[in-house]
């Protein structure tokens, strides 16, 4: 499981950094490195681009895992260069950005779009398989989540747009319900599809402010 990111267009980053003359750049050695969006080489490319755009890069680092508390120590160790900057460009996912802001008074600007929590299904290809809805239904759907893999999040089987195993939105998108159907057929559990899945409780999902959990004991 990784947080999948993509680079924002440089124009958008430039616009966010307008008025920020001196920039400190932070990359991440985990997910963003793996996605080729915030590893050492991307950070060095960004440094070059920023300098070409007339900015001064006061320093850079690739922290091991930007969302980890060790990021605080890394910022402290590099305090001199960080302090000299007007702002920090975070080449990390949004978890990283929101970790960095805890440990600095400098404005922090995201360089990446955080796309989804993804699974690498074939080398170099990542797919979203879980939307973290808080109310798992995989027992009924042969371990394949229709909420995230069906373009309409349908719960009672494929819509009329499922053709040859593909979703109506694109030939590159497999129909989640065809996948579920095939797997249930192989498991001898097609009868599960005859039940009407009732209306969901979405309150466990992201419709009610930040979800929080306290581990007790």
């Amino acid at each position: 499981m990784k947080t999948i990111t993509e680079q924002k267009p440089f124009e958008e980053i430039s616009e966010a950094l307008s008025g920020v003359e001196k920039v400190y750049v932070v990359g991440c050695g985990t997910c963003a490195t793996m996605c080729h969006t915030g590893g050492k080489s991307e950070v060095l490319d960004m440094k070059e681009k920023l300098e070409a755009a007339g900015k001064k890069v006061t320093g850079w680092m690739v922290v091991p895992t930007a969302c980890d508390e060790l990021t605080r120590d890394a910022l402290e160790e590099n305090a001199k260069d960080v302090e000299e900057a007007d702002g920090i460009l975070a080449m990390t996912c949004a978890f990283g950005v929101q970790t960095i802001i805890l440990y600095t008074n400098k404005p922090v600007y995201p360089s990446l779009n955080t796309l989804f929590v993804g699974k690498e299904d074939t080398p170099g290809h990542f797919i979203e398989v879980c939307m973290q809805c808080g109310n798992c239904i995989l027992a009924k759907t042969a371990g394949i989540c229709p909420l995230v893999r069906c373009a309409k999040s349908l719960l009672n089987g494929p819509c009329g747009g499922s053709v040859d195993g593909k979703c109506e939105i694109s030939p590159d998108v497999p129909c989640a319900w065809q996948m579920i159907y095939d797997r249930l057929a192989a498991l001898g559990q097609l009868d599960k599809l005859e039940e009407i899945v009732p209306i969901r409780d979405w309150s466990t999902s992201s419709a009610g402010g930040p979800r929080q959990v306290t581990i007790s004991g």
């Binding site: 373009a151 819509c159 005859e194 209306i199």
Partner: protein
Amino acid sequence: MKAGTNLEKVLVSGMFAVTAEAGPPKGTSAAVMQRKAELLRHCCDATNVTDNQTAIVRMSSLAGCVLLKQQGVDPVMQIVCRDRNRIAIQSDVLGAIALGIGNILCLSGDHQMFGNHPTAKNVFDIDSIQLIQALKAMRDEKKFICGDDISGEVPLFIGAAANPYADPFEFRVTRLAKKVKAGADFIQTQAVYDVAKFAKWMEMVTDQGLDKQTHILAGVIPIRSAGMARYMRDYVSGVSVPDEVVTRMEQAKDAKEEGAGVAIELIEQLKEIPGIHGVHIMAVGWEDIVPEIVKQAGLLPRPVL
């Protein structure tokens, strides 16, 4: 009678029903709907008003239904699950009933990427089968989804769609059975061109006795041109247009006449399929042709019940 609409009366009487479709305008003109009502009033038993079909913003189905109703047409309000959550949908249902609309067709809805607002956020709080179930509970138990009581009567004749041409083929009968179990009083199918495949599906449907538990209307889309035939064959998901129909349209001297002819022949064939209770003609902007098709198919005059 569940709602006592004209559509329900015709279907319950056992007569072969004819429904049509009137797409609302991409604008504010009531006259557009009134003109469609004029065209369709005498040649069909009820008329569907689409709900932002293909995810293109149009006048609301509710408003379109009211405009048809004022012209003496029995409207079928379509509701898609794409744009509204359970709160908005139930609210619209109450309003529709208050305005005299009794037929509601429940649909998932075309994905927003096909429409003119592809950057919109979709809703899909509930799906089409859950919507059928919710409407049934509103009618039979007078309860909202949350369990609260509804004040007043809730007369509804509940419809759903079925597409025998989508995959997995074997599941299509199961899906229909789910819709019937959820409470679908009538079914309007995707457009039929491949009659053999449709007949095979209907055989599976009748084997399960589903045609006795709901009223099935077969969908017909008259084709205006060879280009439209090709487009529907190649680009419309879940529609199956055999090459012979495309060839026929390409070779026709008068494409419109040919297209109407194809539709009439299809209706003649569909009438003979056991378990079919009517046809649903979706003219998609070519409503002018509907009276002629219905007449040539021997389905006029429509019953007055």
